[in-house]
Structure formats: structure tokens, C-alpha cells
């Protein structure tokens, strides 16, 4: 569960990125976060991952209070999240399999758990025939699938994706969104940041629209509420 209550964020240079944001995302939801460039979407994502702290207000993520929790708890909070970026962020000299296994190994999973879980998620994202390839031997869509598999492998409660389809053509983008929807149907909460209007419209999901650091609409009626 995610809960923002009157959240303000000012960067050190004085930029007021968020000016009083409140919303709740319940477990099991699928939510789009939309808004023009510079409106504060990535800032919201960074608050969720603990990369930055709120200037004012409270940010709760999966029962952790991001403003007050101890630094040493941060890794355990992050294990409840899976994060996907526009630029995939794969390790270039590791294979598909190793990239996904790496995420398990570094939180101390056993070899046995890894050998059982990694093939499962790779099949889920449709990459079971590509496991031995390196990232540069894959298409953009396939690389993003690897990133999604990596985000999923530790069985997080919430998947956060910041413009996951920003570098992909419309057909590939749709495939990635369908994959995220499938993951959501399997029980994981999903929050997707995106610019792509058509994509948002083709799914009837909750859309939170922000502009200049404030929420301007929040509902099930798609992208139109944002345009009005």
C-alpha cells in the first residue's frame, strides 16, 4: 500500500517539485501516473524508493514511513518494491539469466531458491528462450522484459515503473503494458508513470494526473480528466 499525505518536496536549489500531494494506492490496484514534463512524476517515484526524503508530509510505502524510518531498514523496505526504469539498467556483461539471478543473490537467496525462481519469472515475461543472451543481443522490448523479470523475482508487493515504454515503439509498448497488467492480475500492485495518452486510454484503469506538483485529477475516466 502507498499513502501520500500532504507531501511537499523542494530540491536543494529551491525548485518546488511537489506542493501538497495526497493519494492512496491500495494493494492489488493498477494505477497510471500522468502529467507533463517537469510536473513531479519522477520525484514521486524517488520518494517511493527512498532515494530522496519528503520536505514535508508523510510517505508510507508497504507499512514503512519513509520520512522517519531508520537508514538501516531501507534495504528491507526496498525488498517489498520492484522498480523498472525507462533505460532498463541491466548489467551489460551478465546474461539475461544472471541479471535476474543477481537481484536474488544480493539479498542472500540460496542457489536452490534462485534455480527454482528465475526460470519461472523468465517464462512469465516470455523470455525463456533468451536466457543465455547478453543485453546487447536483445531488442529494447526484450531488455525491458528482463528488467521487469528482475523487478519481479524477489516477489515484491509493489511494482513501480517510471516511463517503462519511453524507448519503445507502440506495439512493443502495448506488450509491456499487457505484461504489467498480467503481473497485476497475479496479485502485485502496479504503479506506472507514462506520457503515452493512447496507451493509457486503451486500458481502463485509475489515472492520477499531476501538474506543477499538484494533483489535478484522480479517477477511472482515463486520460481525459487530465486534458480537461
Amino acid at each position: 500500500m502507498v499513502q501520500f499525505t500532504d507531501v511537499f518536496k523542494s530540491y536543494e536549489n529551491g525548485t518546488k517539485a511537489l506542493r501538497g500531494i495526497s493519494f492512496t494506492i491500495n494493494d492489488g490496484e493498477f494505477v497510471f501516473l500522468v502529467g507533463p514534463s517537469g510536473s513531479g512524476k519522477t520525484t514521486i517515484i524517488k520518494l517511493l524508493t527512498g532515494e530522496i526524503a519528503p520536505t514535508d508530509g508523510t510517505v508510507m510505502v508497504n507499512d514503512y514511513n519513509m520520512g522517519t524510518m531508520k537508514f538501516s531498514k531501507m534495504p528491507y523496505m526496498r525488498r517489498t518494491l520492484g522498480v523498472v526504469f525507462q533505460d532498463y539498467r541491466l548489467i551489460e556483461d551478465k546474461t539475461v539469466y544472471e541479471n535476474v539471478a543477481f537481484a536474488m543473490r544480493v539479498i542472500g537467496a540460496s542457489g536452490k531458491e534462485i534455480r527454482r525462481r528465475v526460470p519461472y519469472v523468465l517464462e512469465l515475461v516470455g523470455l525463456d528462450t533468451r536466457t543465455r543472451r547478453k543485453p546487447h543481443e536483445l531488442s529494447g522490448g526484450e531488455q525491458q522484459r528482463v528488467a521487469i523479470a528482475r523487478a519481479l523475482v524477489n516477489n515484491p508487493r509493489l511494482i513501480i515503473a517510471d516511463e517503462p515504454t519511453g524507448n519503445l515503439d507502440p506495439a512493443r509498448s502495448l506488450e509491456i503494458m499487457m505484461l504489467l497488467q498480467k503481473i497485476n492480475e497475479l496479485g502485485t500492485t502496479v504503479l506506472v508513470v507514462t506520457h503515452e495518452k493512447e496507451l493509457v486510454e486503451s486500458f481502463s484503469k485509475r489515472v492520477i494526473a499531476i501538474d506543477a506538483g499538484r494533483i489535478i485529477s484522480d479517477g477511472m475516466d482515463g486520460y481525459y480528466s487530465y486534458e480537461r
Binding site: 526496498r78 539498467r89 548489467i91
Partner: protein, 295 residues
């Protein structure tokens, strides 16, 4: 699971050493150079100390009693002399004893025909607690009433004290400077690895690896480099010491110069080298990774 993790740290640490072969080699070399200089100066200091200790047990002052005193009066001075600060004990020797001893050292007694003990004096052999204070004690003894004059080898003690002080000072300064240099090189070597792996580190943090888990492979890398450095320099120090010791004994020709055999100091030296090497490795790697672990 623990064993698996430990294996991971070692594998990652070792592979980083080989992927930066040149810098690894350089940091081992610098540790070796530092330890050799530290070790050599320490060994010199230990040996100078040892020589001074030997001299302390051998060196003594000779306090000659005034001619006008009777033997009984002369014997009475013992308590006064032993009360002088820094005097360990004073042994009285009659002029007859001294004369006999003196004559005995010569093979031909005819040299001394017509002479007897009246030409020498009663005397005290004075043993000191601390040779460094010899000059002060010498002056005090001269002021004791009934003592005519005192014989001492101030130059020798002075010289050795000065050497000891200089060597101690220089080795302490060198150890400090070289330790800092080793730390700097070590942390830069490991910084190269952390820089090359910054994406991996970012992913580790993103998926929830603990700081400890992220840090350990780099610490292992540093510890292994440090350990290699200490073992190599220990072996080299051993060889160097054997050569120098031999040169010194055969070359110098001073009978009082004795060199401590290496086996007597090898364990402390090995421990000290190991501690410095591992310390440089652990601290250097922790410094290198520090900035990546914030946030």
C-alpha cells in the same frame, strides 16, 4: 546460506583483483615497499636497543677513592655512593686486589718489580640503572666527599643514545607517512573497481541489498591485497636481514656489536606486518566504498 554468501564475497573479491591486475600489483608493491621500510627501521631500532642493553650490563663507572682515606674510611663510602640516584650498586675493590688483577693481565711479572699496591688506589666499581643518565650520575659521583675522581666512557653511551633516539623518531615518522600513502593507494585501487561497478552497486541498492553485503566483496579484495603484501614483504625482510646482519658482523669488527637472530623477532614482525597489511586493506576498501553506501 551463510556459506553461500561467504563464497560470493570471496569470488567477487578475487575476480576484482584480476580484472584490475596492474593496480592490484601496484598496491601490493606499495604495501611491500612501505612494510620493508617500516620493518627495516624497526629492526635497526631493536638492534640498537639490544646493543645498548648489552652495554648497560657491561659498562660501569670507576670511582677512585681519595689517597688520604684509610681502607676502613674508604669502605664506609659504599652507602653514600649507593645513595646517589641511578646507582644500582657499588662494589669496593682494595688497592691490593686491583694491583693483583692488573699484574695478572700481564704475562711477564718482571715489569712490575719494585712496585707494589701503593701505586694504585682503592676504588669502587659503580653499576648504573640507566645508561642514558650516565653523565648526570658521573657528575654527582665526583661531588661525593672522599672520591678523588671518576672514570667513565661518556662518548660511547652518548653516541648510542643519540642513534637510538634518531632511529626511533625516524621510524615512527616513516611508519605514519607510509601508512597514509598505502591507505591512499589501496583505496584508489578499490575505487577503480567500485567505479567500474557503480551500476551493479546501484542495482544492488535498488533491489534491497544491505550495506554490509555491498561492502564485503570490496573489503575482501582489500584484505587479500593487504595479506599478499604482508607475506611478500615478510619474506623479503627475512632475506634482507640475513644479508645485512652478516655484512655488519663481518664488516664492522666491533666485538660488542651483536645482532639479534631473525627467528627471535620473526613472530612479532610477521604479526605486525600482517596487521598493517590487513589494516590497510580493510580501511582502504571501506574508504573507497563509503560514498556509494549513502542514500
Amino acid at each position: 546460506m551463510r556459506g553461500n554468501r561467504f563464497g560470493y564475497y570471496i569470488r567477487e573479491g578475487v575476480s576484482s583483483i584480476f580484472s584490475h591486475g596492474f593496480m592490484s600489483f601496484a598496491s601490493v608493491c606499495i604495501i611491500v615497499a612501505c612494510l620493508l621500510i617500516m620493518g627495516t627501521f624497526t629492526l635497526i631500532a631493536i638492534n640498537v636497543d639490544n646493543i645498548i642493553d648489552t652495554m648497560e650490563s657491561q659498562n660501569e663507572l670507576m670511582a677512585f677513592v681519595d689517597d688520604t682515606l684509610t681502607e676502613e674510611q674508604a669502605r664506609g663510602l659504599e652507602a653514600t655512593i649507593e645513595a646517589v640516584p641511578n646507582v644500582d650498586r657499588a662494589v669496593f675493590i682494595t688497592r691490593e686486589r686491583a694491583w693483583d688483577d692488573f699484574v695478572e693481565t700481564y704475562e711477564n711479572p718482571r715489569f712490575f718489580e719494585g712496585l707494589d699496591a701503593s701505586v694504585t688506589r682503592d676504588r669502587y666499581v659503580v653499576y648504573l640503572d640507566d645508561i642514558a643518565l650516565m653523565e648526570e650520575t658521573y657528575n654527582l659521583l665526583q661531588d661525593v666527599p672522599g672520591i678523588d675522581w671518576v672514570r667513565a666512557h661518556l662518548e660511547i653511551s652518548d653516541g648510542f643514545m643519540r642513534i637510538r633516539n634518531v632511529v626511533t623518531l625516524v621510524s615512527m615518522a616513516l611508519v605514519a607517512v607510509l601508512f597514509v600513502i598505502s591507505l591512499f593507494i589501496m583505496s584508489n585501487t578499490i575505487k577503480l573497481t567500485t567505479f567500474e561497478r557503480r551500476d551493479e552497486i546501484a542495482i544492488m541498492k535498488m533491489v534491497g541489498a544491505t550495506s554490509t553485503f555491498i561492502r564485503w566483496p570490496f573489503v575482501v579484495q582489500g584484505l587479500i591485497l593487504g595479506l599478499i603484501g604482508s607475506l611478500v614483504s615478510f619474506t623479503m625482510e627475512w632475506g634482507l636481514y640475513q644479508v645485512l646482519a652478516k655484512e655488519l658482523i663481518s664488516g664492522a669488527g666491533f666485538s660488542f656489536l651483536t645482532v639479534i637472530p631473525f627467528y627471535k623477532v620473526s613472530i612479532p614482525i610477521l604479526l605486525a606486518f600482517g596487521a598493517v597489511g590487513l589494516g590497510v586493506g580493510a580501511i582502504g576498501s571501506s574508504l573507497a566504498i563509503k560514498n556509494y553506501l549513502k542514500v
